[in-house]
Symmetry: C2
Subunit: 434 residues, 2 copies
């Protein structure tokens, strides 16, 4: 490669956090200095880094960079242009340092979904008041450039629906349960041993981490203020290997699926276990891979798939943002000015959908009729039904309903005990149509 023509001064990065992702960024900047300079039209350099322990071997040569132990101090250094925040945590040092960076006139590139889900609106207003940018490709779906696609590539579209499988750990657990026929608790423990879980595992398996990501995408898609508190959250802890198998028998896979859509009843944001057709792109997603689906009024459906975590993919996303800043792209954080984002009323109920029901039915005459009657009374009609043979006194019955409402499902489930033929708790899972 010939020596690049450089048309601008170097873009100087300060990297706060030298974990996997931070070191990934260091490695790219060191390995690809010429390539980055040619593509950006200017050099991209690291001038300072920040982490507590300077003596730890992190597998990269950091000797050329100034060292700070305090992220706020790093954020305020005169010799950095971009504050790269890869520390994590939505309060404390990450928040303080990000605010300090914006006040000091720095642009911010961050991988911190929790910080933005909780404080994105305030941070965006601060940034935009000062003419700074905050970019967060790495915060959502790892290496997949989905924030760029949504904010820029699809900027001519009114978005209809945004969906995603965005927590690789949950998808790993669900796929592994199915493939190995193991119960949730066992696979959860495996994932823990493998280091796949956050230190607070609820962030993963409770859907919180993925919910943060969904709330950020919803803001861009619908021009609304980030409203993580309105995301309906349900984790994967109650998914049994039985349901994974039964759903498979009916042609579905169970995914922790995020769905955001603007409806006549308000903004719907859900991060819940759903059934999706086994033959669909989402259904075929296995292991730790992420997938994001955008539906726009002109473009139709766009599907993106890639690694949702890891040093390389996440650092790739950080560097995409850094290169945008280096190339002079300056957009509002959520694609429209923060002061123009509206407060969306949360949808009280989800859009109608078919549901999957698993019911243990007593071995009594007329049992199935009573269940069917209860569903009929709730206004729910049955699309497909399957009853399994059984050795004991109850039989599993699987029902796929026609489109119905969450309210109708809840009502029917509440009436099942009174029938005297339903044993244990029925399982009801939404089927998301693609």
């Amino acid at each position: 490669m010939s020596s690049p023509i450089l048309t601008g001064p170097a873009l100087r990065l300060g990297i706060a956090g030298l974990g996997t992702v931070g070191i990934g960024v260091v490695k790219i900047v060191q390995r690809h200095a010429d390539m980055l300079a040619m593509r950006a039209g200017r050099p991209v350099q690291i001038t300072a880094v920040c982490a507590r322990d300077q003596n730890k071997d992190r597998g990269a040569d950091l000797s050329g960079y100034a060292w700070e132990t305090d992220a706020v101090t790093l954020a305020q250094r005169d010799d950095i242009d971009v504050f790269v925040e890869v520390m994590g945590g939505h309060e404390g040092a990450a928040k303080d340092a990000t605010e300090a960076a914006l006040r000091a006139g720095k642009d911010v590139v961050t991988a911190n979904k929790a910080l933005l889900a909780h404080h994105g609106q305030a941070l965006a207003e601060t940034a935009e008041a000062n003419g700074q940018v905050i970019r967060f490709e790495a915060a959502v779906a790892g290496g997949i450039p989905c924030i760029k696609t949504l904010t820029e590539g699809l900027a001519g579209n009114q978005l209809r629906r945004v969906m995603g499988v965005m927590n690789g750990t949950c998808n790993y657990i669900l796929t592994r349960m199915e493939d190995a026929g193991l119960p949730y608790d066992t696979v959860f423990e495996e994932a823990n041993q493998l280091g796949y879980l956050e230190s607070d595992p609820t962030l993963d398996v409770g859907g919180i981490d993925a919910g943060h990501k969904l709330a950020l995408m919803a803001s861009i898609a619908f021009g609304t203020k980030v409203a993580f508190e309105n995301v309906q959250l349900e984790g994967i802890g109650r998914i049994s290997i039985d349901d994974i198998r039964r759903a498979g028998d009916m042609g579905y896979k169970i995914k922790l699926l995020g769905v955001a859509q603007m409806t006549g009843r308000g903004l719907e944001q859900r991060m819940t276990p759903c059934l999706v057709p086994a033959s669909s792109a989402l259904g075929q997603l296995s292991g730790g891979t992420n997938m994001v689906v955008f539906e726009g009024d002109s473009v139709g459906q766009i599907v993106m798939r890639g690694a949702g975590a890891g040093e390389g993919p996440t650092a790739s996303a950080i560097m995409g943002d850094v290169m945008d800043v280096a190339r002079g792209l300056r957009l509002p954080t959520f694609g429209a000015p923060a002061t123009q984002l509206v407060e969306a009323a949360p949808a009280v109920t989800a859009a109608p959908a078919p549901y999957y029901l698993r019911i243990n039915l007593s071995d009594k005459p007329g049992a199935l009729a009573k269940v069917a009657q209860t569903l009929g009374d709730a206004g729910i009609s049955i699309s497909r039904m399957r009853q399994y043979g059984h050795a004991d006194t109850s039989a599993p019955v699987l029902i796929v309903t026609h489109k119905t409402t969450t309210d109708a499902i809840h009502y029917a489930v509440s009436q099942f005990p009174a029938t005297g033929v339903v044993e244990g708790d029925p399982v009801a899972l939404r089927i998301e149509e693609l």
Copy 2:
């Protein structure tokens, strides 16, 4: 939606070509004026359009726009900032008008893959010498923002391989042959009746259109000058329903697949029918949908899927580019300065790969041994083999080889006649590993 705060003057578009795509752009600009203005921080307007017949009903109100019948005149108007070229054709009016627009200081947004595949380097040099930009998201894979993803989102990556199924018509024909069990000629005629084919169908079924797209992506991915003339092109005309079925028996689908990769032997660019695993994302792609796959050294593999053509998707891509210009993003056409792009030596042979062979074997003792011996002599080892029952004097034999070279396959095929046991022409198709 509240009235947007506009921080800049309107961006004024001149649209050359009022076919499906041009009218699609008009509709978006009219329907979403407020949304576009809020997202761009300035209004996006159409000031002038160009087509021959002003009296034709095109399904959109064009009365507010100045009308030109000559694209060069449109390109030079003082009241446009961006020349939107959706006329098509790589010589004549489209080329003249694009050059005129650049000389007149306009930015260019184009859907014209042929123009850029043939003249992209010269046009990019002209544009960059004058500080103008040329953007061409709509030229590649319809609504999929793949050019943006490659140029910007993956800017921190050294690309390893770029792949794509990028001609919807070819994929429609191949899928339809399989689903309906119809021969190529019949489905080709169907596609023609449905208006799916270009007026010169060789552009589609000969792989030329898709080859243009591949050459453009290769330039961005590898920092090389567009070299369409070095794309190894092979259309789908020789694919038989028999091969589609036999490949299916072996677990593969046949796709017109583009592959570009930089190897030690030079830049490899192929647009040829290949086998891909039926269970892979590429294998599952059916109908007119497009798919693009990027492999980068940090990000790993990113897959994008969406509509490859049509009014809405293509207009969406045009508007993505228009919005980038409105927002002030100014990049070199191919992601690095045109004067810095290198002339890549074309790879003389493709990277080694497994191959699928279909051979009609005479019903003679020792026939299979002779074929196996011929392959062995060519240095080709067999991974899987399947012989079918037969009613006449020859039997179809399917062979999946281990990784081998194109040269070895050609040599073996050339030796088959001398064995005296191979009837007709053997079929050899590369299996692309994903």
